[in-house]
Symmetry: C3
Subunit: 108 residues, 3 copies
Amino acid sequence: MQGKATLLKVYLGESERYKNKPLYQYLVHWLKEKGIGGVTVCRGIEGYGADKVLHSARFLELSSDLPITLEIVEVAEKIDPLIQEICAMVPKGLVLTSDVHVYKHGKE
Amino acid sequence: MQGKATLLKVYLGESERYKNKPLYQYLVHWLKEKGIGGVTVCRGIEGYGADKVLHSARFLELSSDLPITLEIVEVAEKIDPLIQEICAMVPKGLVLTSDVHVYKHGKE
Amino acid sequence: MQGKATLLKVYLGESERYKNKPLYQYLVHWLKEKGIGGVTVCRGIEGYGADKVLHSARFLELSSDLPITLEIVEVAEKIDPLIQEICAMVPKGLVLTSDVHVYKHGKE
């Protein structure tokens, strides 16, 4: 993969669950099974979403529900068919794409 | 919100302050008051900015001044009116936008 | 720098090395020497790349090889000449660019 590609970014909460697993871990596993070439998961230190509840590493009681982001970079043909399923798995999250230009991907 | 939107990203230093508060915390609060639908704050482990001073989690003395990023995703009409005010609050930081396509945002 | 610019993002593994240094630290130093105006390095908590090996902060044995991202924002004329060299230094990683609009950069 080189040239035009799609960056898919998903924002969700660390405590969200899906099928008895943390949602972000479920998504990583699911994306790997779908043949997606890579996923990067980051944890934020603070944030709020549509419900306007502030989550922060500064608040002990909410520190286990920090913001999580997942990033996937793939050709559009591999990402587009998955977006609706991802949206359904992420009821409270944010799902977006942007156009990127890939110069190098893995061992190519 | 679905379709075309703007991702606003702000890069600043953890130790920057504004009105007696850490700047990034002030910004989160301020953006919430302005009706912005969500903010995600991340802390980096290393970096430098315009002054070329390297901040790193490896250096104890600078570990309380690590890079901080804020991400906001909204329709352009809600973000554009705030950008000049944000720039004024972030004297040493980097403020940028990019075009994104939103598939899902919160509980819609 | 204001107006159109390029965001360069590099994804690599924390344990990758280059010339006896952690690769991401080498890159930060190298980019600074090349006159790049700023770099932000983040560490993820989980992820996999082209080799499909899952790295996670949950697995002690792989926790020292978490995903690392570097972000650089510059005018295209300063980034473009560096991309092939960066790709050569990052054999297993992902290197991409996207278009951004910069409103503020450093002390301007």
